[in-house]
């Protein structure tokens, strides 16, 4: 632990902790835009600049690690600096709400009372449209904080997004400006999740009113698609009671807010009319009829026992779904080996 001075108060923090986090724990909120705990310190947006005694100019709290005896001030001139930086970002922020996602820049602007004196004549970037149906990108909302690209390089390791060009022509775009579908992208939506402005957004939610995501009710649950067991938040529209999107929080232990394409985007089945909601048994008429679990399971058991009697236990093999958890897989192999008497069991995850 080290001790340092934060706005006149003596505080302590583990050595090497980033100042922005240490300050937050002590109740001092320093705004950030380009910072993301999952990524290496970058220090690009400069929103988190604070005064550090002895430093020739303000330092970014998102990249500065705490040191014994350092003297930090967050409430001096850097407050004015923050408003100016916000004004600057607004001077090319043509599209504040592409898809109803929270926009940290407009939030900050409101809080600081910042307005752009003008829109830059070269604010408009090359338009971008993507033929995938999950993720959209609106260059007019992008503040070039580079979070998405760094996520693709440091976390997802897909590098399917690039920070392209220099000067006013610089932009963020899938590699070579191709569609996401023609890059290494797996549509995990991770880059989307770290975007602070909603420039990358759920394409299927385009046109949602600003702040739409905040109006949704989040229900925390476990993704049902595979044994990794990622923690997700189902975002439910309180009016229609339908799941609108899936998010995840960096604080969730098993997946730290990261998801794959299934967990993030494949939730439509929940409300699908074809979804099975109870057991069905095929009747003599050849059609499927609703049945109770007991009926259905007994029928399946009887069928399997019949096969075993006629052809022996080795004629039965079990293929476990990738969606099973460890515990369920354990039970399934007990069923195979102990009850049915076969070693032929496999999981489709292994292929």
């Amino acid at each position: 632990m080290v001790e340092f001075t934060l706005d006149g108060a003596r505080v302590s923090a583990p050595e090497g902790e980033l100042l922005v986090h240490a300050a937050a724990r002590h109740g001092t909120f320093i705004p950030t835009l380009c910072h993301d705990e999952k990524l290496d310190p970058y220090g690009g947006c400069r929103m988190c600049l604070v005064d550090l005694e002895g430093a020739p100019r303000p330092v970014p709290a998102c990249a500065q690690r705490v040191r014994e005896g350092m003297v930090v001030s967050t409430n001096g001139e850097t407050g004015a600096l923050r408003r100016t930086l916000t004004e600057m970002l607004l001077a090319e922020h043509l599209s504040p709400n592409p898809g109803g996602r929270p926009n940290e820049l407009t939030d900050l602007a409101e809080e600081l009372g910042a307005q752009a004196p003008f829109l830059l004549p070269d604010a408009a970037r090359e338009p971008y449209e993507d033929r995938n149906r999950l993720m959209g990108y609106d260059p007019g909302a992008c503040i070039l904080c580079n979070r998405c690209v760094r996520y693709t390089q440091e976390v997802m390791q897909c590098s399917a997004l690039v920070f392209e060009g220099r000067g006013a022509e610089a932009r963020v775009v899938p590699t070579h400006g191709h569609s996401w579908l023609d890059t290494e992208c797996e549509l995990c939506g991770g880059c989307l999740s770290v975007c602070p402005t909603g420039a990358i957004h759920e394409q299927f939610l385009g046109g949602s009113p600003a702040g739409h995501e905040r109006a949704l009710r989040k229900t925390k649950t476990t993704c049902t698609f595979c044994g990794v067991g990622c923690q997700i938040d189902l975002n439910v529209d309180p009016e229609t009671k339908r799941i609108v999107k899936v998010t995840s929080d960096p604080s969730y232990v098993s997946n730290e807010g990261n998801l794959c394409v299934k967990g993030r985007f494949a939730f439509n089945f929940v409300h699908h009319p074809d979804r099975l909601t109870r057991p069905l048994v095929r009747g003599d008429d050849g059609k499927l009829h609703p049945a109770s679990w007991d009926e259905a399971l007994s029928l399946a058991a009887a069928g399997m026992n019949g096969v075993k009697e006629r052809h022996g236990a080795q004629s039965i093999g079990l293929l476990a779904s990738a969606r099973l958890t460890n515990e369920e897989n354990y039970l399934l192999q007990k069923l195979a080996r102990g009850v049915i008497g076969t070693n032929s069991i496999h999981s489709c995850e292994a292929t």
Partner: protein, 489 residues
């Protein structure tokens, strides 16, 4: 698909070299070629693509015609030259300001290179150039002589050389030496003169630096536009059999900033790093790295031979613009602009309107300052500094607002886009100046002041921090041009 590509080295640090090779031997780096190289080097395609897009030249054919519209060339007809060459690309300062308006046809400089220079006591650009055994002194003595000589970095920042050298020695090896030969500062041609006329002298300086730092490897980061320098320096290095690699840039001013240069050399976009750590502690591949400008190193042999205190303090002044004999002259560090113009460069060709003393971010001084010594102290009262000693003389007929706007356009185009104040500030200032040229205030003066302060205090590197300097200089010396800003509140 791309013949010869399989032979290329696969280390990430060779990416820029490899891209240059593809451009020279195969053709402009297209997305397909970029992907092929990425696959060969086992780097993800997106990471190569974003590097390619960072540089101005990788997508251009080698024989492309490039016309300079840097401030001096703009003033002396660069735009008309551009119009006469359909298909030519417009580029910022190409380091041949003494030939303005200058252009490049592939590697060939048009008009043909001539040298206008003089004898001097330290570098002596006209002196005989041949391989020489470098002076060999104990490290402590070297530091002491450097301190006694008062040598400061001539790359632009003016940092005391002995301090940097001492810091590097203190950090544990292995250490690396890098020569900054990117010379991108508009109006600056001196490093080219050194490399073309005294390449062996630079090699001597490099040898001293390598021995001092006990460095087993050294690099020269050389701007792409300097084909002749590449050839002559390469030959001089070979003559001494030194393990020095020339890394050729690909068209990016900010790569002259030392930490951007390190990123560029490591195969990433040339975006400056946060400091600390400084390169002397953790530079190239995390090793302690001694980075010096070409001219800085070229002064060191004389300093060590004559002794720091005895060696006359000179520097190379690039003089361009409205003078009779634009060129590069070795003169005392406290020379005045008037002396340079009259005693070295053959006098002004037109009534002088403004002088930029040392590169884009050094400031702008009015004719009244012509007798100020071009030192940090001498120029401070004029809101300027000596920078890289690229003295650009602008005639009264060239509007100051245009000069500042062109300079700001240069910064905006070269900004790496990492940090907000520079990324947006430079473009905003270009806009403000453009509006002023039409007597329109784009923003109130008090707010402009806040934006300038945000750039100065909030930018990561010298590009954004220094971009307001020329504007402030103009506001101070030609306040009438900025009157519209004061009328708004």
């Amino acid at each position: 698909m791309t013949p010869g590509l399989d032979e290329l080295p696969r280390e990430r640090t060779r990416l820029l070299d490899n891209l240059g090779w593809v451009r020279r031997n195969v053709g402009p780096v297209t997305p397909e070629r970029s992907d092929a190289l990425a696959d060969h080097m086992n780097i993800r395609r997106g990471e190569v693509a974003e590097v390619v897009s960072f540089y101005s030249y990788l997508g251009q054919p080698v024989d492309v015609v490039r016309v300079c519209t840097g401030p001096v060339c703009d003033c002396l007809g660069g735009r008309a030259l551009l119009e006469r060459h359909p298909g030519a690309v417009e580029v910022p300062c190409i380091g041949h300001c003494d030939l303005a308006p200058a252009m490049l046809r592939g590697d060939e400089v048009v008009p043909a290179v001539t040298y206008s220079t003089n004898h001097g006591p330290s570098i002596d650009l006209l002196g005989p150039d041949e391989p020489r055994e470098p002076p060999s002194l104990e490290p402590d003595r070297i530091v002491a002589e450097l301190e006694a000589s008062g040598l400061v970095g001539y790359g632009g920042a003016g940092f005391a050389t002995w301090r940097k050298w001492e810091a590097v020695r203190k950090a544990p090896g292995p250490r690396v030496v890098i020569v900054n030969a990117d010379e991108g500062e508009p109006g600056t041609i001196k490093d080219r003169y050194v490399m073309e006329l005294r390449p062996h002298l630079l090699v001597e300086g490099i040898e001293v630096a390598m021995a001092f730092a006990e460095a087993e490897e050294a690099y020269v980061y050389l701007r792409e536009e300097y084909a002749t320098a590449r050839e002559r320096l390469g030959a001089a290095l070979a003559a001494r059999g030194l393990p020095v690699t020339i890394v050729t840039g690909a068209g990016s001013y900010v790569c002259g900033e030392e930490t951007a240069m390190l990123e560029s050399m490591e195969g990433r976009r040339g975006m400056p790093r946060l400091r600390p750590p400084f390169p002397a502690e953790a530079g190239y591949l995390g090793r302690p790295t001694l980075i010096n400008n070409v001219e800085t190193l070229a002064h060191i042999p004389a300093i060590l031979r004559l002794g720091g205190a005895a060696c006359p303090r000179t520097r190379l002044w690039s003089v361009s613009g409205a003078v009779a004999r634009p060129g590069c002259y070795e003169a005392s560090v406290d020379v005045t602009a008037r002396q340079l113009i009259d005693d070295y460069a053959g006098g002004a060709t037109e009534e002088i309107g403004a002088v930029v003393p040392g590169g884009a971010a050094s400031g702008i001084i009015p004719p009244a300052a012509l007798d100020a010594p071009l030192t940090r102290e001498g120029l401070a009262p004029w809101g300027a500094g000596p920078g890289s000693a690229g003295v650009q003389v602008f005639p009264a007929s060239y509007p100051v607002l245009r000069l500042v706007r062109e300079t700001m356009r240069f910064f905006a185009e070269e900004s790496c886009q990492k940090c907000t104040p520079c990324r947006i500030g430079t473009r905003a200032l270009e806009h403000v100046l453009h509006e002023l040229e039409h007597d329109r205030p784009a923003m109130p003066g008090w707010q402009l002041e806040e934006w300038l302060v945000a750039m100065e205090k909030g930018s990561i590197c010298g590009l954004g921090q220094g971009a307001p300097v020329p504007l402030r200089g103009a506001m101070r010396h030609w306040p009438e041009l900025f009157a519209p800003l004061l009328q708004t509140r």
